[in-house]
Symmetry: none
Subunit: 211 residues, 4 copies
DNA sequence: CATGAATGAGTGTTCATTCAT
DNA sequence: GATGAATGAACACTCATTCAT
């Protein structure tokens, strides 16, 4: 009851150890889920991947499903934060840069992405999270479009549908690596893809930018 | 050895009955798989959906997996055949029409599509089928682009990436109904989406069409 | 109600056809049971072996088990009848001949024998039949021994145990072909085996026959 | 990394517990297989016999078949070791003793024997094990015969066939208890059987031993 | 905190048998 | 008499989860 400072330190360390171990599990589980899908992945698979006993998992998570949810909630903000930079995009070059960086982020956590979208339409709760994430991105993009249509930079397109199509274009570029088992593109290829996307996108939504 | 006509007729009828029943099962199973995913769907679920005994399924299919494969192989050609009409597309109006019809086809078999793409990245065999289907579409679109770039109708874009992005745009439009649980759009909404897609697409790949 | 002669003939023919078909089934089923064992053999296996529909079997037998019982009851007498000749055996040469013929009989229906002894200790009813058959043989042999001990041809051995051991010797010779998957011996090999058995047997149960 | 002694002790105890439990299962399963046969015996039967949950079995064995194989491999050597004593047999009395002891060994594990021979001609792998065991015994006996024929103690019989027949005689004596459901013989009956066998056997393979 | 052991509730699949045609 | 189709009752096996240690 006394040794407060000592105890507190010990507790904090324990806490950190606990949190670190939790993350290890999530990392490994994300990979397993990405490979086999949530249903096909067994708790034994996960335990093996973290190199711990199966039952030990239950010291860190209530059940298998909670692991899934923890994964998909993880780093939920990162992309949003990054994408808020879109407001600073003022020319083609900056747009290319933004797309390029966004791709990099996705590739840096392929397993998470695969898991998220792989289970989203099975599991309503996961779906909600995926939707929320996409919605955040959707909002950023749409308001960007709206604004620049207003100020005359872009043609008056149907911003709802267009925003969705932009996301579709982006995912189509990522798809081969994310879902198709293709290797992650090199920096050069990534840049090329970003250029192509900016090209298709801009030449469609701006007046005669190419002329 | 004689009664050929009678026997043949009986055999043919049996054959048809068998095939019809098989299709009933596939229809129901596609719905179940679309709802729950292949792994979570049980043979009991399927049997209930067709309103037959669980074991009766095995008179029509060797095992659960064969049902999945039969579903994803089903109607494999329909979309390809339709899309070959793209060569006849010569102006914006015809493009809108084509997109509109393509959407209609997808919506007419939502369960199949969901099942196909839902399992594609779990199951290599399903993946191959999905890829083959997409590749056929990809080829049709890409050669269309290539041709019209040559004859000067389109800007010289990166046709590989652009083709993929076009598919991405299309899927982004379908996504809410296909994967998001949203209701299938009305004819009006469909037309509006087709217009928006043609708009974004053409204004990007043609020279100064808006000017 | 009238055409008695015609009807009777037709009925008799039908009866014969029926009996013939029953035997075909038993023949095929015996082979299947011999190969796979009763439990592992399926009614489908049997139906395939007779080249008929699975359900057609049930026009000839009440159920799978009845097929087994019909098999093991079949030809139950043949060996008994043959062995009653043992009373006429008066010298070594005739004994060799008898053993040789007995082996021939067993080899002529390997499948039946395998089935009978294969299921005998699983199925009490089959066991009873097997036991009854062996008992009949046992009785014939034992009374033969008893008689010839009385008349001084044989040493006064323990006839119960000795009879059983004689049967054991006989089965040991048959075992490789019957249970071991070895090919049925040639006439020459059979004769050699019969000689060896007579040799071991006689030199043991007669006084100084070799001296 | 340090507490080696403690950890090692705990591990060893666990190991022993595991092995003990494995044996319990094998013991019970052997009985079940002996009673019903491998195919008819269910995993539930086995589990009930060991008084554990059905699924718990699978913590000790990969599948039902592995239980069978573990049973038939168990104690594979015991009989061989014992029978190597045959070389020390020099007179009738010692032979009787040997046979008596061999019977005792068989009776001490009736369930194993029944299971082994009950499945041997169904399952090639079990067959191989049964054959190997018999072959070992065959070799010991045959070389014993060969040797004593050479040194003039035995008549020049056909040693291959004779060896097999000896095994047959032995099994014929065991058969009632092993396969026929008869009670295991008393020590007195066992001795009597051994005497009878030695009697039949010796009087056949030795020159005038009775005279 | 870690884990081996145990298990109930399912899962896909088999198979003998029935029945309408 | 022959059979395709249907099915209930099992069966071996899996797996997430619990619990004593």
């Amino acid at each position: 009851m006394e040794q407060t400072p000592d105890q507190a330190a010990r507790l904090a360390r324990r806490e950190r150890r606990f949190e670190r171990r939790r993350l290890e599990i999530l990392e490994a589980a994300a990979q397993v889920f990405a490979d086999k899908g949530y249903e096909s992945a067994t708790t034994r698979d996960i335990a093996n991947a973290v190199d711990m006993g199966e039952s030990t998992l239950y010291n860190y998570f209530q059940n298998k499903r909670e692991i899934l949810l923890a994964i998909v909630e993880l780093k939920k903000v990162e992309m949003d934060e990054f994408l808020s930079q879109i407001d600073r995009v003022e020319n083609r070059q900056e747009l290319v840069e933004l797309i390029d960086q966004a791709m990099l982020i996705v590739f840096s956590r392929l397993a998470y992405t695969r898991t998220l979208f792989g289970e989203a339409w099975r599991d309503p709760q996961v779906f909600d999270i995926a939707q929320a994430r996409l919605l955040r991105i959707y909002d950023l993009l749409k308001s960007y479009l709206d604004r620049h249509i207003l100020d005359g930079h872009f043609r008056p397109v149907h911003t709802d549908l267009t925003t969705r199509m932009i996301i579709g274009m982006f995912m189509a570029i990522l798809a081969p690596s994310t879902f198709g088992g293709q290797p992650v593109p090199t920096a050069e290829q990534r840049r090329q893809s970003a250029e192509a996307m900016a090209d298709l996108l801009l030449a469609g939504i701006t007046f005669g930018i190419n002329q």
